[in-house]
């Protein structure tokens, strides 16, 4: 029985916003057609709600009350100093930068110099300049069919980075992709990155979503990154989503690993009123190694959801997941980790761990590990823990003269430290550690 559910205000405004802005969104006729198809799909799907199994704990019909007008073109005045302020510890990182403000490429804030083995260009240019077929290809995703956040991204995306790392190239410096929210008007910013690394290459790519000082606090971001890791290539990928406390962050990573490829993904999330981080990973060749980890910090009524689907489609691949959340006040953390082991994916080795540190009795942690194993010669395991700060450890620290607030901070750092340690780049790990410390200090104030 199908009962038509009335559209929510947000669903209604998203549909209307598309009609109003379609002509202004970049891309050839084929691209516009793909956008129209996507919004059509969204109109049918609506925002996901708790009766959709994958969204059981993160009901967008309830939690995304207002849809903001889409960012289409941007003229916000942003200086390098503004950007440095928002980037905090990342500002000093020795990296190749490409910068987007409100979803539009900013050449004047980006590095123009050529780097051997690295090709970076704004998606907006490719969508407009490329032949229809190519441009249409750029619109496709490898993500799950019927995902509303992906459909919305296709409909509204304005820009992003197309990144290619050449076969055999080893990038000396990380590529830092900055997505800054600026300006007094709160908007929905939709960006898409397409990253493909060549066989035998090695690279580190950072996605930093930051809010500039003075920008509207309640901005919404929908970010999708398509990643293809070449054969025997190594890719480290780190996303930092440091919000204002009122911002909304919807993110998708669709990862495909080539034969013997290594992919290390890390996500840091803080200050998001609502965040949903989806990672869909599939092994395209044997011998792939996937290591996903993350740390998220939640306070007030913030809500951070990490949803993973790891598809062991071929044999002899390895997956590791470690996600740690610090939950204060009435904050909520959600972890959903599905590991699928296909019938011929023998010798699969998968391990998953989700942990929450509950700083308040009103915080909530929902964890749903799912193993779907169809092969018989595999090693797969998962675990979930949620605990308060250890009173005995707190006493131990205090008995050594460390004041309670410092002792708490030390123990919280020690909790997320295990996840941060997954970030191999020293400068980046230290920058993340400083961000986490700043979050902890803010808690005291």
């Amino acid at each position: 029985m199908n009962v038509a559910i009335p559209k929510t205000k947000a669903e209604q405004s998203l549909s209307e916003a598309f009609e109003a802005n379609a002509a202004k969104l970049p891309g050839s006729a084929a691209v516009q057609a793909a956008r129209a198809t996507a919004i059509g799909a969204f109109n049918k799907l609506g925002l996901p709600h708790r009766r959709v199994e994958e969204w059981k704990y993160t009901d967008l019909r309830v939690n995304l009350k207002d849809a903001l007008p889409p960012a289409v073109s941007d003229a916000a005045l942003v200086t390098a100093a503004d950007l440095a302020g928002a980037l905090g510890g990342l500002a000093g990182l020795d990296a190749t930068r490409i910068v987007f403000v409100n979803g539009s490429f900013r050449a004047e804030l980006s590095d123009g110099a050529a780097i051997r083995g690295l090709e970076v260009q704004p998606l907006s240019r490719a969508l407009t300049a490329a032949q229809d077929k190519v441009a249409e290809g750029l619109m496709r995703t490898s993500g799950p069919e019927g995902d509303a956040t992906i459909a919305l991204n296709t409909a509204f995306m304005t820009d992003g980075a197309i990144v290619r790392v050449a076969d055999g190239a080893t990038l000396a410096k990380p590529l830092l992709m900055v997505f800054a929210t600026a300006g007094a008007a709160a908007q929905l910013t939709s960006v898409r990155n397409i990253i493909a690394t060549g066989d035998g290459s090695a690279a580190t790519v950072i996605e930093a979503h930051v809010v500039l000082d003075g920008a509207a606090a309640s901005g919404q971001t929908n970010a999708l990154t398509e990643l293809t890791v070449g054969q025997s290539a190594t890719l480290a990928h780190v996303k930092i989503a440091a919000g204002s406390g009122k911002s909304v962050h919807l993110a998708n990573w669709n990862v495909s690993l080539g034969r013997d490829a290594t992919y290390r993904g890390f996500q840091y999330t803080s200050g998001q009123a609502l965040a949903r981080n989806q990672i869909n990973a599939v092994y395209a060749g044997v011998g792939g190694k996937l290591d996903l980890s993350g740390a998220y910090l939640v306070r007030g009524t913030e809500h951070v959801d990490t949803t993973l689907v790891i598809d062991h489609a071929v044999p002899q691949c390895e997956s590791r997941e470690l996600f740690k959340g610090v939950l204060d006040d009435r904050g909520r953390g959600v972890f959903q980790g599905k590991i699928i082991v296909r019938p011929d994916a023998q010798k699969t080795d998968g391990k998953q761990m989700a942990q929450a540190l509950m700083l308040s009795p009103d915080a909530e942690f929902d964890s749903k590990p799912e193993l779907e194993i169809y092969a018989d010669d595999v090693v797969c395991g998962h675990g979930t823990t949620s605990a308060e700060l250890d009173a005995d450890l707190l006493f131990y620290c205090m008995s050594r003269g460390i004041p309670e607030n410092e002792a708490r901070a030390l123990l919280i750092e020690s909790f997320i430290g295990e996840a941060l340690d997954k970030v191999e780049h020293d400068g980046l790990r230290e920058a993340l550690s400083r961000s986490a410390n700043a979050w902890l200090s803010a808690a005291k104030g």
């Binding site: 005995d392 205090m398 050594r400 004041p403 750092e413 020690s414």
Partner: protein
């Protein structure tokens, strides 16, 4: 001077009286030993001195240098010079030993009105103290006590003690889990800290530790009170005759 006066302590969330009028004085410059059977309240006494939650003082007081410490948080007591070497030192995953030591040393120095230690000054001092206790410096780069053997944990406690320069040292069953070599190293570490400005309370079940750390006085704690006080020879007596005479039943 440590003065414990008529101390009555019960568990906070259970109607169980553990200390029942314990009175004890340890002047500066002296080392006193408290010996007693299991369950006599030895560890409770050490925790109440250090300020652990979960105990309720129903009567009496603990004075350190004439000032009651019962209302002070554990970190304030540490700043006043109180140090407890734990029977079971805690592991703190994710916090490097050096970071922990430095945070503690500087927190205590700050509260005592001393300047924080500079990095080179701190490193030099840690290296010296660690070498004295036969602690591999590399171990201090690892998370606090994680993966340490029993002996390593106890040595790490004595290192913390040396670094924090307390004036009241309470050692809770420091000899448990130590082989004879480790016992000697730990005892030497404690003896090195003997000074006219420092009062030390050694809590132990067995006499053997007191061969190495020779006490000025020995107190027998049983059934929540000091039953007898004597010189170091009392420990030997106890080793021979046991605690049976103090508990009314065979130990």
């Amino acid at each position: 001077m440590l003065e414990i006066k008529n101390l009555h302590v019960k568990l906070a969330d259970e109607d169980k009286q553990i200390l029942k009028g314990l009175t004890l004085t340890v002047p500066k410059g002296e080392v006193h030993a408290i010996m007693g059977p299991n369950g006599s309240g030895k560890s409770t006494l050490s925790y109440v001195i250090a300020g652990r939650d979960g105990y309720e003082v129903t009567e009496g007081d603990i004075l350190w240098n004439g000032e009651s410490i019962l209302e002070m948080a554990p970190d304030e007591r540490a700043a006043k010079g109180v140090f407890l070497a734990f029977q079971y030192p805690m592991e703190i995953p994710g916090v490097a030993g050096l970071t922990f030591l430095r945070t503690a040393v500087n927190a205590v120095r700050k509260k005592r009105g001393q300047d924080e230690m500079t990095t080179p000054g701190f490193m030099k001092y840690v290296k010296e103290q660690a070498a004295k206790l036969n602690i591999d410096f590399e171990m201090l780069k690892r998370p606090v006590n994680v993966g340490f053997s029993g002996g390593e944990k106890k040595r790490s406690e004595i290192l913390q003690m040396a670094m924090l320069e307390p004036t009241l040292c309470v050692l809770d069953e420091t000899d448990s889990g130590l082989d004879i070599d480790a016992l000697k190293i730990v005892s030497d570490g404690v003896n090195a800290l003997r000074s006219p400005d420092r009062a030390t309370l050694v809590i132990t079940h067995y006499q053997r530790l007191l061969n190495h750390i020779v006490p000025d006085k020995v107190h027998v704690l049983a059934d929540g009170r000091i039953q007898k006080t004597g010189g170091k020879e009392l420990a030997l007596e106890l080793e021979k005759s046991g605690y049976a005479g103090y508990t009314g039943k065979a130990a």
